[in-house]
């Protein structure tokens, strides 16, 4: 049994193609049924997000399955094969396992380490469970993928740093003020980015929000959404000393805040640090303010610098993550490739033979002096017992022809007898089965 993947992503296909092949949630049930009906496909799953559309299948004939999946992808969306195929990638066996583990761990994402993909994979797997298109192999495989994603998340710092400007502002604030609780944020002007950053700050526990705008009614409206207070633009500078974090994005061509305003505010607030974020272009705050001791002024480029540094950091962590993936691919592959009849029977026999030999030796040494004949009799008897016990299971395993049943029994035998070739220890979190 093998895994195959056919699909396309933001790396191989432009959005015009991606949107054409996307599977709507309503259509997934029917599509899963279609996939399951393909001759080479024993289990199937569909992942469809805005950045990728992928079909996963468990199969005994990877090549045939790949062809069928590709054809299905083109047919089901009415796209000519010539156009679609140049954007498609397909992986089989170990490569497919690696690909899915990387996707789930967010190593293949546009923003490496972003957390949404794990949820999307869980949803996709949920559909497959609900519509019974996932069987033993995909079940085990996806649980493996989820636990690997968790491992990557906890063992590397891949998702620890901010990669958007508005989050970068929050992250910086945490290096200035230890805790954001009991801090006051002021919004000057009403840029979209400002609002977003303010939302992050509020979510991170900032206690008070002040909003000012040339148009007072807009300030009032925005203040309402944050449960804050609107301040008159004419005299917002008088409130500066109460502000710990200031977000500015007015459309003003000149500086709205001069270094002198800020210097005065600093004195009033007894030199407690102030974090100023100037998102406006042209800038709102005199850059000279950064020279004041207790003021930390950041403009858009500076925040972009934080994001760049963090992305670089994520790339470094991604290397560690790849090592984890390598290990896990190996382990899963071992389990999968041993999920066939012969090795299982061989391992089972070996296991029981070992037990028999051990017990036989123990008995022989306990009984003391025995003649050759007696020894042989004991040996033959224990052999016969093992063979008799194994007779029926062996025959059953060999006779099973339904693939799904066979895998189930093989897996059960391996687990029950703790055969050394058995499944990777699976610490996957329990998932809702729909």
């Amino acid at each position: 049994m093998n895994i195959v993947v056919v699909g396309l992503s933001h790396k191989t296909a432009p959005v015009e193609i991606r949107e054409k092949v996307a599977f709507e949630p309503d259509a997934i049930a029917a599509s899963l049924e279609d996939l399951h009906a393909l001759s080479a496909v024993s289990e199937a799953m569909i992942v469809s997000t805005c950045n990728r559309v992928e079909l996963y299948a468990a199969t005994t004939d990877p090549q045939q399955a790949c062809t069928e999946l590709k054809r299905y992808m083109a047919q089901s969306h009415g796209i000519s094969a010539d156009v679609l195929y140049e954007h498609l990638y397909s992986y089989a066996c170990q490569e497919a396992v690696r690909h899915v583990l990387r996707v789930t761990s967010s190593l293949d994402s546009m923003v490496v380490g972003e957390p949404q993909i794990l949820g999307q994979m869980k949803t996709a797997y949920g559909y497959a469970c609900e519509h019974k298109s996932a069987g033993l192999v995909l079940n085990r495989f996806m649980h493996k993928a989820f636990s690997v994603a968790k491992r990557v998340r906890t063992e590397t710092a891949i998702a620890n740093s901010a990669v958007s400007i508005s989050y970068a502002a929050v992250e910086l604030a945490r290096k200035i003020f230890d805790s954001l609780e009991s801090k006051t944020v002021m919004l000057v002007g009403a840029g979209e980015m400002c609002e977003l950053a303010a939302k992050h700050f509020v979510r991170c526990g900032v206690s008070k929000v002040l909003v000012t705008n040339r148009t007072f009614s807009r300030a009032e409206k925005l203040a309402e959404t944050f449960g804050g207070v609107a301040v008159n633009f004419a005299n917002f500078r008088e409130q500066l000393h109460r502000v710990d974090i200031l977000l500015s994005s007015t459309g003003s061509p000149d500086y709205v805040l001069h270094a002198a305003d800020l210097k005065a505010a600093c004195k009033l607030r007894r030199y407690q640090p102030m974090f100023l974020i100037d998102i406006a272009v042209p800038r709102d705050i005199d850059p000279a303010a950064n020279k004041i001791d207790s003021i930390y002024l950041y403009d858009v480029d500076d925040l972009q610098g934080v994001v760049q540094a963090n992305l670089k950091e994520r790339q470094k962590e991604a290397i560690k993550a790849e090592q984890i993936i390598d290990e896990e691919v190996e382990r899963f592959h071992d389990w999968l490739s041993n999920l066939t009849v012969r090795p299982t029977i061989v391992a089972l026999r070996k296991q029981l033979e070992e037990v028999r030999q051990k017990e036989l030796q123990k008995t022989l040494s306990n009984l003391g002096t025995l003649n050759e004949h007696q020894r042989k009799a004991l040996d033959a008897m224990s052999s016969a017992i093992v063979n008799k016990i194994l007779h029926h299971p062996t025959r059953l395993l060999k006779q099973l022809d339904c693939d799904d049943d066979k895998l189930r029994y093989l897996d059960a035998v391996q687990v029950l007898f703790d055969l050394s070739l058995q499944a990777p220890s699976d610490d996957a979190e329990k998932l809702p089965e729909n």
């Binding site: 710092a157 910086l172 945490r174 290096k175 200035i176 003020f177 230890d178 007894r270 030199y271 407690q272 640090p273 950064n290 001791d293 207790s294 930390y296 950041y298 500076d302 610098g305 934080v306 540094a309 963090n310 950091e313």
Partner: protein, 278 residues
Amino acid sequence: MVPVNLLFAATTLTYLVASLLYLTAMIGKREEAGRLGRWVLLLGIVLHAAVFAVRHSMVEGTPVTSLHESLSFFAWCLVLLFLLLDLRFRLSVMGAFAAPSALCLMIFSALSPDVVVPLSPVLRTWLFPVHISFAFLGNAAFALAFGAGVMYLIQDRMLKSKRFNRIYRMLPSIDVLDRVNYTCLSVGFPFMTLGIISGAVWANMAWGSYWSWDPKETWALITWFLYAGLLHGRLTSGWRGRRAAFFSIVAFMFLLFTFLGVSLFFDGYHTFEAFSMP
């Protein structure tokens, strides 16, 4: 009885292990290493106390007279105060400063001549241990303030110049570093004050005069004024952040000179015993 050298070596070893753990915690961002480091330091401080207990029975008095013993006692006070500070702040970066500092003090201590000298009569008073305990606890607190101050300046530099490198990631917020700096100063200052007062009382009992402008006294007074000025600035004029951090570093330089320089370069009551031996 366990030989004192063995105990000393074991203590040094625990400080080494704790240093490595705290550095791992800071550089590798592994908080659990920091938690382990705390327990190792706790073990170290107990072993270290045993060193002093044994020495105490050897000289039948307070065993802090030579440079060897002074440095070792300094290390003990430093670790003790760090562990207390840690109860409140839980900063493994401070551990990454305190534990290696203690380790260095132990190494310098081991390198200084270790001569067990019977206590001279003037040191056989209950005021001696009181005096040195206050003085060294003050030193240790100021050392921690110094560490926090250095880290503050570095992190402040990173934030101002917008460099988001490894060091920026390792260090905590400037706010917390400033609070640590302040806490250490406000703990160290009363200790230092009591150290000076107890010294004066003792001087009066031994020589009939509270103050005789012995070099150590003079320098200690200068240092005391520096710290008093710094605390005053923090409390009344809102000194904080960069200025306070910088000041606490300078003041600590004076303190180091008072502690080591004066005893090594000048003659006076505070000359280490081992050096005054013929």
